[in-house]
C-alpha cells in the first residue's frame, strides 16, 4: 500500500524502502520458515502462535507481490497452495541472519 505520508515526504533512503518489504509482525518469521520448506497457509496458521488468517494472508500477499515468495497452486482433492522462496527471497536470508547475529 502506498500511504499518504509516503507520497508527501517522498522517501529517499533506499534501505528504508527495503526494510519495509520485510518489516511487519510476521514477515521475517515467514521468510525464515520458507528457507526450510515450501509454506502452506494452514500450516503457518498453526505454527505462528498469536497469528490469524488475515495476518497470514496479508503477509503472504505482500511477500508475493514484492517478489520474495512465489505462489504455486496445486489442484488436488482439497485445494493446496504452496509458497516458495524466490531467488530474491533467498538473497535476503543471510542479511536477516546478520541482523540476528548483531542483536
Amino acid at each position: 500500500m502506498t500511504t499518504k505520508k509516503e507520497v508527501e515526504s517522498e522517501q529517499t533512503c533506499p534501505a528504508q524502502a527495503m526494510l519495509k518489504l520485510v518489516a511487519g509482525k510476521w514477515k521475517p518469521e515467514i521468510l525464515r520458515l520458507a528457507v526450510e520448506q515450501p509454506l502452506r497457509f494452514s500450516s503457518l496458521l498453526r505454527t505462528l502462535k498469536g497469528s490469524n488468517k488475515q495476518a497470514i494472508a496479508a503477509a503472504l500477499k505482500e511477500l508475493e507481490e514484492t517478489g520474495l515468495l512465489e505462489k504455486v497452486v496445486i489442484k488436488q482433492k482439497p485445494l493446496h497452495i504452496e509458497y516458495y522462496l524466490t531467488k530474491q527471497g533467498h538473497s535476503l536470508i543471510p542479511v536477516l541472519q546478520q541482523l540476528e547475529d548483531i542483536g
Copy 2:
C-alpha cells in the same frame, strides 16, 4: 516502547526484534547520516525533509536507548549535543548497505 501485542504474542523471531531497532520512518536515514559525521538535532531537522522535531527526538532517543547512537553533551555558549554512531551502530551499516543492494 513495549506494546500490548508484543506481551501477548511473545515474540520469537530474533531478526524481527532487530529489525524493529532500525525500522521506522527516520531511523535508517539517521544511521546512514551518522556514518559520515556526528549528528546534531537542528541539523537533522534541516536535512530530513518532511520531518519534525518530535520525529527526530523520538528516533534519536530510541537509537540511543538501543545502543546504536551515543549522546554527547557539549556545554558551550548555545548548548550543543552530538550523536555518535556506536560500535554496534557501525556494525549495522554494512547490513543496511546490503539491503539497499538487494532492493
